[in-house]
Amino acid sequence: MIWNEEFETLPREALEALQLKRLRNLVDRVYTTVPFYRKKLEEKGYRPGDIRSLQDLSGLPFTTKIDLRDTYPFGLFAVPMERVVRIHASSGTTGKPVVVGYTRRDVDTWAELMARTLSCGGTTSSDVVQNAYGYGLFTGGLGGHYGAEKIGAAVIPVSGGNSKRQIMLMQDFGSTILLSTPSYALNLAEVMAEEGVDPSTLKLKCGLFGAEPWSEAMRKEIEKKLRISALDIYGLSEVIGPGVSSECLEEKHGLHIFEDHFLPEIIDPATGKTLPYGEAGELVFTTVTKEAFPVIRYRTRDISRLSVAPCACGRTHVRMERISGRTDDMLIIRGVNVFPSQIESVLIAVEGVEPHYQLIVTREESLDVLEVQVEVNESIFTDEVKGLEGLSRRVEREIKDLLGVSCKVKLVEPKTIQRSEGKAKRVIDMRKI
């Protein structure tokens, strides 16, 4: 189901023309209204009117989380405070939060984008939306709320927590759509099992899950346990909140980025160079319609890749692959960028299961050495040496093919890889540089 047929299925050519017009307006606007951007743009030699094609985007300066911290709280606002109608903030990992503002029109845009997201999951005005995202400074709660209201669905602003009450509401109010984090959805399934509630007696049909990274395996688990379709949605406060991109029910394969509002790029996080479609790298967004808090080339530190392959749902907007990791985890080995998620994908492909693994990087005679330790579980264990050695060689070959980096695979006993709070530490970098 498509909320805004006209814009979501715009032919690429028309879409790009619209993007160019909006990009030019945005850059010239922040050049005059935000001293921070003006200074950065001038350092790059930018003069108003310099944007002539979408390719010119790659010549603009990046904006980083550090920039947001340095301009705390309102330094990047592009409108006077009397035009701001809402302020949200996300928890900062170091001290001060990141603060974002919205004009009345921004709030409308956001509601439109969340209406599109909810429609991706089949939501209509006859649905009952249980919104278990937190309400407050966090953008999840109010973002979902306004989107559901815009569609005309009945929204239950229950916020997060209190699982037993959530389940009671599902039963009594007949909730059909669930908004929450994927881990909370699994928690609800567990509580249902404990309480003896059969999910097939509920009216729930679809869940839109975001705000944290998750996996295909987790999707299958949620779908099986709650008997619903589970879609991945993506957003971040710095860009707008939820409503940046969403999977569709038709393919459940990659999240459509609402490109008439956000221009996505994938860059090499080490060099900042823009990468072509299909290559994995850091996701970067430019918001072309936001008034109060526009960002130019905001570096998300999330790892993804983009695809313009046509989609069964009819949307023409580019799709981003499910977030596979953070640039913070990136390793540079002999000059090659390596993401743990890429190694993981090789292991899953070779073994057919999600293994526990760890990457150990050392330096021997000024050369980086990558060792991939893989725990031997029953599904990959064979009684013969040649079977296990064959497996190691195969993984080494596949990693070399994919990344162009040689590594050594070392098979280790189960539970030898350290886990913190159930999650394995993926990288140990022992290089002394």
Partner: protein, 143 residues
């Protein structure tokens, strides 16, 4: 005829073998035969014990990766050429020995050797046809 063997994945670290044998001792499992295949990084310990299922369970519970494999036990004349004759028979039939190791116990005047083949059933048939005695599983566990 097939004998159940358990195989345990071991890293090449000191104390691992002691850990395995200690765990089995505590569980009252008696080891009848064993062999250790090793590489630079890891080893595979193969055991014939008096209670395979119990051994497998206690090893799993102790966090080891364990597999059950089928092998056969042959009586080999304890005289020069005893093993050579059996291997020649297998070679003629084109059967590949994955690995083999000897039993500590003897069966009368004969030695006992454990064999793992890629084609276990075919190998068993050919050996029986050649007059080699293949031990029954119960005989092996009770030795």
């Amino acid at each position: 005829m097939k004998v159940e063997q358990i195989s345990i994945f071991l890293e090449n670290k000191s104390g691992r073998l002691a850990e395995v044998t200690g765990t089995l001792a505590k569980a009252g499992v008696n080891i009848r035969a064993l062999s250790l295949a090793d590489t630079a990084d890891f080893g595979i310990l193969r055991l014939i014990v008096n209670n395979t299922d119990r051994a497998k369970q206690v090893m799993k519970d102790s966090g080891f990766t364990v597999a059950k494999t089928e092998v056969i036990a042959l009586e080999v004349p304890d005289s020069p050429g005893g093993l050579a004759g059996i291997l020649a028979t297998l070679d003629k039939a084109g059967i590949n020995v994955e690995y083999m190791y000897a039993f500590v116990q003897r069966s009368g005047d004969n030695a006992i050797i454990i064999f793992r083949f890629d084609e276990l059933d075919k190998a068993t048939r050919i050996l029986l046809d050649a007059g080699v005695r293949v031990l029954k599983a119960e005989e092996v566990y009770a030795l």
